[in-house]
């Protein structure tokens, strides 16, 4: 699971209010290189929940992102490289995603988060 996906996932247990972002408990993180696409990244800055991305990358051992994103105009290549790496190259292979309110853990195996809820949670 890459952080672009983490940025969309939340805990959908019935009645839970504080459901996003899920805290990442990594057991195994791998890095897979992908093509750098600056135009796409500039587009994404405004769409991403920045804090979720920064915290997610930190918990996966990559503390290089600034607390606030630069505006699209001032985003330089060195920033975009870090954004690229965080959003698209860090992969959570094994570990858990934890609901901030209930502590419910969603496990991640072979890179695939299991977001299925139990019957009494829906």
């Amino acid at each position: 699971m890459r952080l672009i996906v983490h940025n969309m996932l939340s805990c959908n247990i019935r009645g839970v209010v504080n459901k996003f972002p899920l805290r990442i408990e990594p057991e195994k993180v791998i890095v897979k290189e992908v093509d750098f696409n600056p135009d796409f990244l500039k587009h994404m800055i405004a769409k991403i929940d920045w804090k979720a991305l920064v915290d997610g990358a930190r918990s996966m051992g990559y503390p290089e992102l600034p607390d606030h994103p630069p505006t699209t105009l001032e985003s330089d290549e060195s920033f975009l490289r870090k954004f690229h790496h965080s959003l698209l190259e860090l992969n959570l292979e094994e570990g858990s995603l934890v609901c901030p309110e209930t502590g419910r853990k969603f496990s991640v195996n072979k890179g695939i988060p299991n977001m299925l809820l139990h019957e009494d949670e829906v």
Partner: protein, 208 residues
């Protein structure tokens, strides 16, 4: 990439080894999958450099097609772990990066406006009535630009009405009618192969 080339690559993918009847697991064939994604890109620019989600991705044929057409990011969602395992192997085989998530699409809530395009071959609703509509409803909430989906031609009027009236669609258009080969996966199919008419749809969500 040329259409024929795309179709050829998709033809080599592994498909469901033990299809589960209740989940309507039949593969989206390379002929349909390649045309679907090719049209989405060449006529509408909805794939290349976009974030694409594949709902009920199964073994990942549509996800793979999106990745091969240079989507910036592709995410496949399915409820069935075995299919997702095959889909992961298919992505590795093609050397494309695809994320997979195990979930029930009908209960999924995705945050934000990150996904541009949803592509899907939902269950046709022959086992669980209304499954096709639940998928469409979910897709319309997630896509910011467009949804591409396959539905039985016999449901055309119903789909159009529901999309415009209930699912917040700005437009709902049948792009073409295709023949869909349902292999004889299931006992209740008497003939060796059942060939049904399906529509390829394009829906545009109203800005949320």
């Amino acid at each position: 990439m040329k259409l024929k080339q795309l179709e050829g690559l998709l033809g080599d993918l592994e498909q469901f080894s033990n299809p589960k009847v209740e989940l309507e697991q039949y593969p989206t064939g390379p002929h349909i999958a390649s045309r679907m994604l090719f049209t989405a890109e060449n006529s509408y620019g909805d794939i290349t450099d976009k974030v694409v989600a594949d709902f009920g991705c199964g073994c990942g044929t549509l996800s793979a097609a999106a990745a091969l057409l240079d989507a910036a990011s592709v995410i496949g969602f399915d409820i069935d772990p075995q299919s997702l395992e095959t889909a992961t192997l298919n992505a590795e085989e093609l050397e494309v990066e695809i994320d997979f998530v195990q979930c029930d699409i009908t209960k999924l809530e995705l945050k934000g406006q990150i996904v541009n395009t949803v592509v899907m071959n939902p269950p046709f609703g022959t086992r669980k009535k209304g499954a096709d509509m639940e998928f469409l409803s979910a897709a319309m909430k997630v896509a910011s630009d467009a949804v591409y989906s396959l539905h039985k031609t016999s449901t055309r009027e119903h789909i159009k009405r529901a999309a415009l009236r209930d699912f917040n669609a700005k437009s709902a258009e049948v792009l073409c009618e295709l023949r869909y080969d349902l292999p004889k996966l299931y006992k209740f199919h008497k003939r060796k192969e059942v060939d049904i008419a399906v529509d390829l749809w394009r829906f545009e969500p109203r800005q949320n």
